[in-house]
Symmetry: C2
Subunit: 293 residues, 2 copies
């Protein structure tokens, strides 16, 4: 029986071995990653990793201290005092976010961390290495990558962008009402309107599917209506504190191989594609992560 | 206990009753929808609806005969001969698509429908009413809405755009190798590189969360590795053939209320937002659907 596959998807999986293009000059993503040199990969610092244990597996988040230094300090403190142990995913709103926090049924005092912080929505652009994308952006003057994260900037400031998998610190109406005790991950089309309005603290580098595939909450904003629907969080730890810290590597966004990857995605040259897009939007660029070889 | 909510999300839910902005001139999405006049809503023609029954509920798809007329004819024929009864969701790739088809374990001959069709990737732009968006598009000269669907166009042609929830007909390498026997729905950030490369047949207007929250397949491209992981499809019917056809309405994308909604989303004026985006991208505009009052 014939089994039609969306061959387009092959290039979406960094792990899949895509067939070589029959004549096109552009190699596949898999080819590019296989050919990347060792120094084009950076080891993720375990001190910048949060490891969250859910019933079905681990979610690993890389913090972004270059953009949200005080939130990184606070999230390490909260994780180290066990603040999130026994917390829960309390919200899953379709095409938007999954969100986790302590619950009313399982409150916990903060000991060493802080409940709220000054916002870190943007920072001065000076001093931040930035690899711009060539095709423009609906929401910002420029978009591209900084230190492995999707980002955007204007003439003075730079900020992280709400792409799929990015993690932020929920807040109330006041700008300084967040701090990291409630976190969310983007699980839908990039809600870029949140950029510069809320502090992004990092991104999920492993296990996003454990959050994105949760049943959606049926309450307002996708909150679960009963405690039993929530997904329990056994614990959140700083990677460096684990007996076996995660050994992950990310392709450097300033590397030649990353530039090749971006170009291969701007113009797909495998025979499945009849019309290469000729452009790519910030949140459609994959950010490859692998286990350290 | 304080419970920080991403208030930003309020406006994402057409059903949530958002608080009125304290001073801004722009009303909330809920306000706009509540104020829309009856003739700004169009009834979805049950002849253009496919109703797919999954174990956890119904997925309703609106076909787009203005863009893919032959696929609409074929999908009605396939549904009416029961072709999809006993099919299954065979693939769920994170941040990309869910896909369904017959399986090797449960094949079925096609009787009245066709296995393949000529592609309907684009069509001439002449004759298609189009409501453009003002902020540009990374992938196309213009983007906007046509007959309730997200679309893009150049000086000669117009095509449907791969936004969240759009449904397409999987194909093999040859352009004419699809036809509707394998369908996919977009369940992640818009894969706009697929535009003009594959026939979009419509979009999910109800129940997308039943597809987007499925456990991800662990095989290549997100295919499930064992038959037991697949989600069975009891049946797919044309809405008009049901004893109780779905009675759904969509806000007309050429209406004044839709223009107000778009503007309210371009520049959020509730007090949670500190920096209105000042722009909106095609796939971030909600397309409200409601039960007929």
């Amino acid at each position: 029986m014939r089994h039609i596959v969306l061959a387009a998807a092959i290039a979406l999986s960094a792990c899949a071995s895509a067939p070589a293009a029959p004549e096109g000059p552009a190699p596949s993503v898999a080819d590019i990653l296989a050919q990347a040199s060792a120094d084009e990969w950076r080891a993720l610092d375990p001190e910048n990793l949060l490891v969250m244990e859910l019933p079905r597996g681990q979610v690993v988040i890389e913090l972004a201290p270059e953009f949200a230094p005080q939130h990184a300090v606070n999230l390490r403190a909260l994780a180290r005092e066990g603040y999130f142990d026994g917390a829960a995913v309390v919200r899953a709103q379709d095409n938007f976010v999954a969100q986790w926090s302590r619950t009313e049924e399982s409150p916990r005092e903060i000991r060493t961390g802080r409940a709220t912080l000054a916002p870190e929505f943007t920072r001065p652009r000076a001093g931040v290495a930035f690899a711009p994308l060539p095709d423009g952006d609906v929401y910002a003057r420029e978009s591209g990558f900084a230190g492995g994260f999707p980002a955007a900037r204007d003439t003075r400031e730079i900020w992280l962008a709400h792409c799929y998998g990015m993690v932020g610190a929920g807040r109330d109406v006041a700008s300084d009402s967040g701090g990291g005790t409630e976190l969310y991950a983007v699980t839908g089309h990039a809600p870029r309107q949140l950029d510069r309005n809320i502090t992004l603290v990092g991104r999920v580098v492993q296990g996003i599917e454990l959050l994105s595939s949760l049943p959606r909450g049926t309450g307002a904003l996708g909150f679960y209506e009963t405690p039993g629907e929530r997904t329990p969080i056994a614990r959140v730890r700083v990677g460096a504190d684990l007996e076996s810290p995660p050994r992950l590597q990310a392709l450097r966004t300033e590397s030649a191989s990353f530039a090749r990857l971006t170009e291969a995605r701007r113009n797909r040259r495998d025979e499945w594609y009849k019309v290469p897009a000729g452009a790519i939007e910030l949140c459609n660029v994959p950010l490859p992560v692998r286990a350290a070889p």
